[in-house]
């Protein structure tokens, strides 16, 4: 094992710094037509009429598609269902004249040039009949109900049943906190605009460059809706300019690009603009009520977490919010609930650390408040309630090095220099605050199939349909594969981002390294056996009596473990196979049966320093340290970036980003990057990451847990707690604006 654990720079780096990396909207295929989408300006109601005549009269406009002239499509809802669809009825673009949400796509203009299509969009005249709508969660609390169950519920079960007698225990406990938390809507805003370039190949065949986190998910969606054979639809996504969850479901530019290409029998690209990036899914608003109670010694006696979230009128999007406190802390009395309010908005969609980042903000701020009541150090309170087994299931963890995270990060940060008194630490004209919080995330793994083979040149070829959305997947998978055969990285080619490759789920939930990575190990073991069998067939094979356990691989050789000088070259084995690549395709899947007795979690601890101007109350996160326990780290360089990137997201969630909804219009008001604030370079100071040692021999073949989201979950609470420490003010709504401290 020499590649795993090495800090390797991204293998596709050169393409990214020279502009040769091609994203979905970068394929300038011949005779390309450009599509521009027109969106509804009302929130709910009906289209009475659409006048497209002026638009059609503009030179260069080829066609305008509306619900009135769209081609006949699959009729049944089920045909529109993608792998990530929540229970309910999938939204069907241009289905009829009904408007379900503001920004709903209502027409597509196709023209010879992008700017002509855009110009034509201003010439479309639509008459609407408006209806009353509800878009405010806080005005519709009484409509809260349980989430409907469906396929997606497997990953998002309802919260656990109550334990003991919460009300009694809460009332009788000497220390208790009851608080309410809210956060605004957020939009993913990957830097890359959603785009699809559809290449019309004829004979019912399409090659599609799509911005997606799941090539096969898009392939199934297109084939089902347009009645095409799966094998005739090829979806490619070799480079994806960020996703953060927004690409987990096929978005409407895919639908429009394919529809127009099939109808016009031409190559068509549809690229959304930044404003349209706010019209297909978001992190939902959530109202959370927490009540935690403790004994005098700090031991928790009662935990309650009630969450109310929004969904659309047509699908029940759910998150895991209410259960996390009890996965961290034991208590004999619990009460959890998660309810949804359907509103006239589009269905929310997973956004980096969905549910967890929402919940941990509330939980870890409540813990901080409780610590202050108890006059106990916040870190000590966590350690006092440290769970060695998962309190919510009474199952042991496959591994849990959270204690190490706490201690290592606290030491690095200098937590013991903290004076607990709010407002007591200053630096010139700045109030200084130290805050900490815990992070937890599920160690997901999905089934994945991997094809692996050795070719005539002795190179290892590995294939899987996964994407690399900036996660480092290409580099990490290449490292994993190389180690299976003792190869250097340039002796391995990992093929990905292509629906023609063997199955992968969408890239989400921090699951890809565990999913595809484990499948590589499994397939490699099968390939080793195949290679040995073939090696034995060579005349006078020096390995003819060898068994799989006796052989090892290094730089193109298979050799006897105890006699290194006895070996066969892999190239000779392939030659004996008439030069044909020797390969196998195998399935890797979570160890469901063995793991059913365990809880599998990733953990983190974050420590944050804020500086707050005494007069202006402007807030700066000057330092943050996150320690992560995520099993084995395949590539410390790309994994560190995953964590620091998530920490930036945590800072953003705590202090910057929010989509503002106008209650009178039922629409978002800041649908651009000037008014939707995210941290700029000057806002990001010092971020430090520690990966603590965590050996996990149960979780999967590699002992990995995933690092895409764990770096985010603890940061918002750590910042809010630091702001309290600096100012004595508890601001429970995110993002925290400086004027709330004035």
């Amino acid at each position: 094992m020499t590649q795993i654990g090495k800090a390797i720079s991204r293998l596709e780096g050169w393409q990214k710094v020279t502009g040769s990396a091609k994203y979905a909207g970068d394929y300038n295929v011949p005779d390309l037509l450009y599509g521009y989408v027109v969106n509804s300006t009302i929130t709910k109601g009906h289209i009475i009429s659409i006048d497209t005549s002026d638009a059609l009269a503009l030179p260069g406009v080829i066609k305008v598609f509306t619900h009135q002239n769209r081609p006949g499509l699959a009729w049944f809802d089920i045909m529109y269902t993608d792998m990530d669809a929540p229970p309910g009825t999938v939204f069907k673009p241009l289905h009829d004249n009904e408007i379900k949400y503001n920004g709903q796509p209502v027409a597509l203009i196709v023209a010879e040039r992008f700017e002509i299509a855009r110009e034509a969009s201003a010439l479309i005249k639509i008459k609407y009949e408006e209806m009353h709508f509800e878009t405010r969660l806080d005005r519709n609390i009484e409509k809260g109900r349980n989430a409907k169950k469906g396929l997606a519920t497997a990953l998002k079960p309802p919260p656990p049943k109550p334990k003991g007698d919460f009300s009694l225990a809460y009332d009788e406990s000497p220390f208790k906190v009851a608080t309410e938390y809210r956060h605004s809507t957020e939009h993913h805003n990957p830097m890359e605009l959603f785009a699809t370039t559809t290449v019309y190949e004829g004979d019912g065949k399409l090659t599609i460059y799509d911005k997606t986190q799941g090539t096969i998910n898009s392939q199934i969606y297109v084939a089902n809706i347009f009645g095409l054979h799966f094998k005739d639809v090829r979806v490619l996504a070799p480079f994806v300019g960020g996703g953060f969850g927004s690409g987990l479901r096929p978005q409407y530019q895919l639908f429009f690009s394919v529809m127009a290409a099939l109808e016009l029998k031409r190559n068509v690209r549809v690229t959304l603009d930044r404003k349209q990036m706010y019209s297909f899914g978001h992190r939902p608003q959530v109202i959370q009520k927490l009540r935690f109670a403790a004994e005098t010694n700090g031991k928790l006696t009662a935990l309650s977490h009630l969450a109310l979230s929004e969904t659309s009128q047509f699908e029940d999007y759910a998150e895991l919010v209410a259960e996390w406190s009890h996965k961290l802390y034991p208590a004999n009395n619990t009460l959890f609930s998660y309810k949804l309010v359907p509103l006239d908005l589009y269905t929310p969609i997973d956004m980096r650390a969905p549910g967890g980042s929402t919940a941990l903000h509330a939980i870890e701020c409540t813990m901080d408040e409780l610590a202050y009541q108890l006059k106990m150090d916040p870190l000590e309170l966590r350690l006092k309630n440290y769970a060695e087994i998962d309190p919510s299931t009474d199952k042991p963890f496959t591994s849990k090095a959270l204690k190490d995270c706490y201690l290592k990060a606290a030491e690095k940060f200098g937590w013991n220099e903290r004076n607990p008194e709010p407002g007591s630490m200053t630096h010139g004209n700045k109030l200084i605050g130290y805050g900490m919080a815990t992070g937890i995330w599920d160690a997901y793994q999905f089934p994945a199939r991997v094809e692996i083979g050795v070719n005539a040149e002795g190179k290892l070829l590995v294939n899987n349909a996964t994407t690399d959305i900036g996660t480092g997947t290409l580099t990490v998978m290449t490292q994993i594969a190389a180690d299976q055969f003792g190869l250097s990285l340039d002796e391995v080619t990992f093929g990905y981002g292509d629906s023609k490759k063997p199955f992968s789920m969408f890239q989400g939930g921090s699951a890809m390294t565990a999913s595809t990575g484990s499948a590589i190990v499994i397939a490699a073991n099968v390939l080793k056996k195949k290679l040995l069998d073939k090696a034995k067939e060579i005349t006078n094979s020096p390995l003819k009596d060898a068994e799989l356990k006796d052989v090892m691989f290094t730089h193109g050789r298979m050799y006897l473990k105890n006699q290194v000088e006895v070996y066969v070259m892999l190239t000779d084995i392939v030659q004996a196979n008439k030069g044909k690549t020797i390969k196998t395709t195998n399935l890797g899947a979570p160890h469901m049966f063995d793991l059913r007795k365990y809880s599998k979690m990733t953990h983190s601890a974050a420590f944050v320093e804020v500086e707050i101007d005494k007069d202006l109350k402007t807030i700066t996160v000057t330092r943050a340290v996150t320690a992560v326990a995520a099993g084995k780290i395949i590539n410390p360089k790309t994994a560190t970036s995953q964590i620091t990137g998530s920490m930036v997201w945590g800072i953003s969630k705590a202090l910057y980003e929010e989509t503002i909804l106008d209650e009178n219009l039922g629409k978002y008001m800041n649908m651009n990057l000037g008014e939707y604030h995210i941290p700029v370079h000057a806002d990001i100071k010092q971020l430090e990451v520690i990966f603590v040692e965590e050996k996990d021999e149960l979780i999967n073949e590699l002992g990995v847990k995933g690092v895409g989201e764990i770096g985010l979950v603890a940061i918002p609470a750590a910042i809010a707690n630091a702001i309290f420490h600096a100012t004595g003010k508890r601001i429970n709504n995110l993002p925290i604006h400086f004027d709330e401290l004035l």
Binding site: V17, G19, F114, M191, F244, G470, N672, L673, I684
Partner: protein, 154 residues
Amino acid sequence: MENFRQINLLVNKQPYTLAIKPYVSLLDALRDYLDLTGTKKGCDHGQCGACTVLVNGNRVLSCITLAVMKDGAEITTIEGIDHPLQNTFIEHDAFQCGYCTPGQICSAIGMLREGKAHSRAEVAELMSGNLCRCGASMQIIDAIMEVKSGGSNE
């Protein structure tokens, strides 16, 4: 079709003549007419920096620049860049998805040439027009600081 203007652009040392409508942005001209798709569109509103190119050596947001305004100008896009920053970006892992990267690199070259940044904080400030949603800010500034303290382009 009416309203076409003929313009000349020198892009990455290659001369081009284009017949183009006056409302076509320099960004769309580069991407859709000249097939130089290394320059990215992130907002089309001058708010993200993804479309940054160098015009006569100065960093410019090509999405809020009309192509006809730059008739006769010398333009360098990421495809024409050969600069030590490209290696330090890779070395420092100064990108994840890579979508903002062409803009970051062009902007950094322009920023170093301006010569106004004298500290890490000033570099970060003067690079703040280039957003990175992947959150690679710290690594981007690290990569730029390495080149800056190496003395190149100062």
